[in-house]
Point group: C2
Chain length 233, copies 2
């Protein structure tokens, strides 16, 4: 039987790459996605397509009502607009972005930890990377390490002599390096969605932080982004 890994699968470029990495290392992938009232719900449809296409062992979707419970982020709260930076160099230069969802990765990893305990998996993959921790506190390597320490004190696996590993294989990679690595592993990036502000058909805006970083990543990797963008006006 293959060793099992939990992968936090958002439906974006980073998480699909994590699925490919875990599978290339021989893990049976148990994907976990969240329906947390995100405005860009097309993500979840992408996560389902990815899970199916990449033949994961299991895909669970946890419905968590973060938006209406807590509010306070441009990603879940209709009172905020997703910002459109002028260019890619502007991103992450002004402290914690308005698109930060309070304690989001901590909540996601906590669910992944519960899932890991129930199915007796010791590895949890999360697709945080270098570009993200310019602004988001819960994407930084020191955060991931401290979550791992806590996880081993929190759980039955941890106190009974096992070890929970929080794997963040994209941690030190740029978007271009991630795209090149995924492409080498056969990832089909047309299955993914990245945009914070996609239209009702799921077509990316091409203007938000996430779109600009994605487009720049493909450009630097010398590859064509296979997804559709809204026409520029």
């Amino acid at each position: 039987m293959n060793k099992k890994a939990i992968i936090l699968l958002s439906g974006g470029l980073d998480s699909i790459t994590c699925v490919a990495i875990a599978q290339s290392q021989g893990y049976a992938v148990h994907a976990l996605s969240f329906d947390y009232g995100q405005k860009h719900n097309v993500e979840l449809e992408c996560a389902k397509k990815i899970a199916k296409t990449m033949n994961v062992s299991e895909h669970r979707i946890a419905k968590i009502d973060l938006g209406s419970l807590f509010g306070g982020s441009a990603l879940t709260d209709d009172n905020f607009n997703v910002p459109e930076p002028k260019n890619v160099d502007e991103i992450g230069k002004t402290g914690v972005p308005i698109t930060y969802v309070p304690a989001r990765n901590t909540i996601f990893l906590s669910y992944a930890l519960a899932y890991a305990e129930v199915i007796n998996a010791c590895d949890i993959f999360i697709g945080v990377n270098a570009l993200d921790y310019s602004g988001y506190p819960d994407c930084r390597p020191e955060y991931i390490r401290s979550f791992e320490t806590m996880a081993n004190l929190a759980t039955k696996i941890g106190i009974e002599g096992g070890r929970i590993n929080i794997q963040s294989p994209l941690e030190k990679l740029t978007k271009a390096e991630i795209i090149k690595l995924g492409t080498k592993l056969g990832v089909d990036y047309s299955l993914t969605s990245t945009c914070y502000n996609a239209d009702s058909h799921g077509t990316a805006c091409g203007k938000c932080d996430a779109c600009l970083l994605r487009l720049e990543g493909f450009k630097q990797a010398g590859l064509q982004d296979p997804i559709q963008y809204q026409p520029k006006v």
Copy 2:
């Protein structure tokens, strides 16, 4: 304006005591309860009564579908029965109990952390105590401290020079000491529910781990437990 605290309010004896402690220290209490498919749902009704009677500033209830998502505990899964130990000395002697819910406190504290960030509170109270960490990994002091370290790396408050404190004021107290302290602070323990196995009217079984520890606590404190128990058969 009073400083704010988030209190994890289960509706039990420990969490009501935490509300009283926080209020006695001048905090405005923001209570957070969870509807997580627990069999002993009377807890949630108790939490609502406590919040109202003790005039908390706000009471939010997060619905999280742990039971059907993950299963694996006698508290949420109908395939398990809640055990009935022969006596109070038997409790916590046989490793992690079957009533352990995987990563439960980690998930609860993660939500509390999100809530704290949104309302700009720096203090989170959790009613873990000495008796609990005989068996539950996520009730131990070293777990609480490691969650706190992680929380300060995870959040906007933490990286912008603030500090999140996870307060566990019952950590070193026995049940009897908690009951005596709460009674001194004017806590009405008739508002609480502790039983893992209450009947449809919310009447406690008097036989599960939680009931035995509660009854023993009142006995050692020299006080009368004001709640009703099912008649012994």
